[in-house]
């Protein structure tokens, strides 16, 4: 007995492949704690941290690639004039920074971690059954804890941030938002593509810059506005090779 066209397995598989190929993700970033506040520095200035020696320690935590974070932050601070060294701390409380080797003025500890993740099994099933017309929705929340210390270990600034990413997977939501992006939304409002990464990075880098700037001012106040003592490299042992 011949099957109707829509009942033939190869046609069904074909539709599934078409649906999967044409489907996509829409990810929306929403700042939750701290990141939506404005900042007073301009992160695009190249001399905000001119002459500042910063050691950046990124702590490994669940759901976040600390080395990528450190690399991105190093670039962001370097663009603003800071001399940055980085370190990825794999185990809590075990820093590999060698003592007294060209000590930095400031040490910034950044711990970024996933604080919540939610996905509905029902949503996933419906997404599959509907050939992704009904989207599968997942939500991730992340937190960043930032501490800036001076070279003596005195805490100069501390702040925490939180944000969430809502990721919808499906041809329906992707096509609809793609169409809205194309016709209605201005570029900075678009939700398809990697726009959410740019927006989040801009927020995070700007705020970390502000935290470092605040820390440097606090350090100045704590020194009663005396000029920063020059950081001296350790003396070489006698007879050491140059």
């Amino acid at each position: 007995m011949a099957l109707a066209l829509h009942q033939r397995p190869d046609v069904r598989a074909g539709w599934l492949v078409v649906a999967l190929i044409s489907t996509g993700c829409v990810t929306v970033y929403q700042p939750l704690v701290g990141l939506q506040r404005p900042i007073a520095i301009d992160p695009s200035w190249s001399n905000t941290f001119e002459g500042t020696k910063l050691h950046l320690r990124c702590h490994q935590a669940d759901g976040v690639e600390a080395d990528v974070l450190c690399r991105n932050l190093r670039t962001a601070f370097s663009k603003q004039g800071a001399a940055v060294t980085t370190e990825v701390v794999r185990q809590p409380g075990r820093s590999a920074m060698a003592p007294n080797v060209d000590p930095p003025q400031y040490v910034m500890d950044v711990t970024s971690r996933r604080v919540a993740q939610s996905a509905s099994v029902v949503s996933t099933l419906l997404c599959i059954v509907s050939f992704t017309i009904i989207p599968q929705v997942e939500e991730y929340s992340f937190a960043q804890d930032v501490t800036v210390r001076d070279s003596q270990g005195f805490i100069l600034a501390q702040q925490s941030f939180q944000e969430r990413f809502v990721e919808s997977f499906g041809v329906g939501v992707w096509a609809l938002n793609g169409l809205i992006d194309l016709i209605v939304r201005p570029k900075e409002e678009q939700v398809t593509g990697d726009r959410y990464k740019e927006e989040f990075s801009k927020d995070l880098h700007g705020h970390l810059g502000q935290v470092l700037y605040n820390a440097s001012v606090r350090a100045r106040v704590m020194r009663s506005f005396e000029p920063d003592a020059p950081v001296r490299p350790p003396e070489k042992p006698k007879g050491a090779a140059p």
Binding site: L32, Q36, R37, P38, Y213
Partner: protein, 216 residues
Amino acid sequence: MTGRGALVVLLALSGCVLDPRFLGDPVIFSNRAERRSIDCTRLSQLEAFERYPGQVPAPQARTVASEDPGVLTCASRYFAIDERPARDEAILSTLSEQVGALADQAGALYGREAVWHVDAFYPSLPVAQKIAIAARTTLAERGLTVSNRVPTLAAGDVAVLATLPPAEVYPAACRRSFETRVLEGRDVFFGVMIVDAKETILHGGVCSEGTWRWLP
């Protein structure tokens, strides 16, 4: 129409797709300004249950603290994020935390018999007044004696002080206040200020018996 197709249409028509779990979080259809117009705080599930008993389920008795995902509680902002200048907004949105921390440090330095005078130094007068009131209120809440009087130096002194950098102006004003008996005896002056145009944190200092000290 196949049974599966009918199921999809039925679900769509029955309103299931309007459930955020199925269609997606409504945040997808909000614009950037709307997404940034809320302030959120993450609470433990127990704390959230106590505050919002009808909306948050009670945590299970065997929940391990490290497994508690917490509950995010959010509230809309009274002011849009770009309604005030950036630095004012950044300082005012953390005012109670910042002033609270400074007032705690200041209050711990002197005994209960001290009489506190408070003023704030900020480029915008309305914001300076808000900071001063917050500092005064916080000290009073800690049970300290707070005066409404703001110590004011003579015009000649102010004219000279205005020419000094922050490093010198506060110690000099403190010394002068006791020399001219604007402050005396058990009076303690608590100043809250910014010292740099691009910072978003407040600093504090106290003046007692003619000696100024910055709070860490």
